[in-house]
Symmetry: C2
Subunit: 199 residues, 2 copies
């Protein structure tokens, strides 16, 4: 019998990326909550799963994968059709460009701004908000002309970028200047299998 | 006639990733120096190439690709054999795990620590050095048992992680506690086509 377990926290946008993808692919899984705020990712036991000491971690039968970007690639290749992660090199690189934005401007900008205000983490709020603005401007420019980030259809790039943009206001970042981004948020939320970050 | 242009800066570890890969694949290209320190990535003209305002950017004939991670994926798929970036989903995810380390602990830890000391950038040096240590510990654990980061042979994961680790001391981060990482640096430098960061 196959088992699938997500080490997860409802508040985490990186975990939400994986919950979205699993839901959109119609995959069942067990959730185990690991509370970063209680140091639960820093225990020796947890670091045997992920030496980086971070969530999410996916255990799919015998396979353990850490890192949200890597898990998205794994899920798309194993359970998605090629649209979610193209096999053509140039198209795949287009997806990677936006995965990079999700790992940089959105994670170190938007997510950290949110972590300052919501979790009291000691980052420089204004610096985070400036980085967030760069990411949102780049997204706005793309989404002014296209419905989706990397291709003419949704890919894992959209799933990777969605969570922290959808809660931008929690980092005191307004989406008012980004109408194309706001329209894209609605398109993602209309995809089959979408679910909210916190039930 | 085909043309290939890299928008580049010798000091940039992200650019060095691409110079290494191009050299290992034996690909000719023109280098155009774009000096981030002089604001040259923030001009309207440059932002038409890359709306994020960052180097490297690769223009390969008619194709423009920004972001070092995306460029590595593009080059591996187009010019490399499958060893550099596997097509199997799980193997590809293993490569992505280390690309994520290169984009997170190494970029926001090691590279930013170096940027503080070498370029006077206003980041929190101790916070950067702590993030760097997490990345190096995870690498040390892997490389204590394996010769290469993602697979039993070199992949783009090794190319992505190499540059900022190789200049760790410029961010006042000692590699003394990481003997397996130091041995791996030597293995990368022995690969055919390797070249130094700055000639």
């Amino acid at each position: 019998m196959s088992t699938r377990t997500l080490y997860d926290l409802d508040l985490s946008g990186n975990c939400y990326k994986i919950r979205l993808m699993l839901s959109m692919f119609g995959l069942e899984y067990e959730r185990i909550t690991v509370d970063t705020r209680m140091g639960e990712t820093q225990t020796q036991e947890f670091k045997r799963l992920n030496p980086r000491g971070q969530i999410p971690v996916l255990v799919d039968d015998e396979t353990t994968i850490w890192d949200s970007m890597a898990i998205l690639v794994y899920l798309a290749r194993r359970y998605g059709d090629r649209k979610w992660l193209p096999v053509d090199g140039l198209d795949e690189a287009r997806v990677m460009q936006w995965l990079a934005v999700s790992e940089n401007e959105l994670l170190y900008g938007l997510a950290r701004a949110r972590a300052v205000l919501k979790l009291g983490r000691p980052f420089d709020l204004e610096q985070c908000q400036r980085e967030a603005a760069t990411g949102l401007e780049v997204m706005e420019a793309r989404l002014g002309n296209w419905e989706w980030l990397a291709m003419a259809h949704p890919t894992i790039a959209d799933i990777a970028c969605y969570p922290y943009v959808s809660v931008a206001r929690e980092g005191d970042v307004s989406l008012e200047p980004y109408p194309a981004v706001r329209a894209w948020l609605k398109r993602v939320a209309a995809l089959s299998g979408w679910l909210p970050m916190i039930d």
